[in-house]
Symmetry: C2
Subunit: 126 residues, 2 copies
DNA sequence: CTACTTTCGCGACTGAGTTGCATTAACAAT
DNA sequence: ATTGTTAATGCAACTCAGTCGCGAAAGTAG
């Protein structure tokens, strides 16, 4: 059970994700809201939102943790198999709706799949 | 050009990768060689070995950097498209030789592909 | 052996993420 | 609306991976 109270901070963070359908690194988020709330609060809100399946997280190429909200997100259907794309020029990260098939691995049980593609996005490759 | 001199430290690190064909996190490596060399040295050797294509690196689920030496590694053919598998029980990481096909993404140029699978390995799922 | 240059060790530092605790603010019940 | 409960926040101190600068040590070529 993540979010129980709808505080101003929670609303602020959620708005950021709803405005644009793109992923944000925690560092980036903290920077955006730095005069509205403490960094600890940002970390905690993100944790709770993720527990509730409202947003999902993954690790960027830079080693930082990134968060995004996408249509498929929900508390029940938490297995996000969609790949992420990080642009090496503008550094933006998008969720891709492409389906990538993972062959079953002999003698292994696969629980989760993290796929991160890097390259140039639509804007930067033009 | 990474490695220029074959020092004792370099040899020690290389031996670890040659003994077992499994990936090691930097933290783990530092622990293993902690009374033979300094942690800064370990970081620097790994950087150089990677530049030369002798080993390759990727980010684990834990956010740590992992390194591995595998057959396909070479300075020229540096694009390692093979997936990695991290066991959620014993925490070991293996390089998989499975080929995973990434569909081309519209209006995007894909340079690299990082795939990390998590689950239970052969030993732990038995 | 000597001279040159890479590599190493050490200590201090950076920056992401965490923790403990006192304070504040949601929310439910009265 | 007031009160009581407890989740949520702010703050400061902390942890830990990874980096940096610099003087000392060890490779390597001649």
């Amino acid at each position: 059970m993540g979010i129980i109270r709808k505080t101003k901070s929670v609303t602020t963070v959620l708005q950021i994700f709803e405005e644009k359908q793109e992923a944000k690194s925690v560092v980036n988020l903290i920077e955006i809201v730095k005069d509205k709330m403490n960094k600890t609060t940002v970390y905690r809100i993100l944790d709770r939102l993720e527990q509730d399946g409202i947003i999902h997280s993954f690790n960027g190429k830079d080693g930082l943790k990134w968060y995004a909200k996408c249509k498929g997100c929900s508390a029940s259907h938490h297995s996000d198999k969609h790949p992420h794309f990080q642009c090496t020029e503008c550094n933006k990260v998008e969720c891709l709706s492409v389906e990538i098939k993972i062959p079953s691995i002999k003698n292994h049980i696969v629980d989760s799949t993290d796929i991160l593609l890097t390259g140039q996005c639509e804007v930067c490759s033009a």
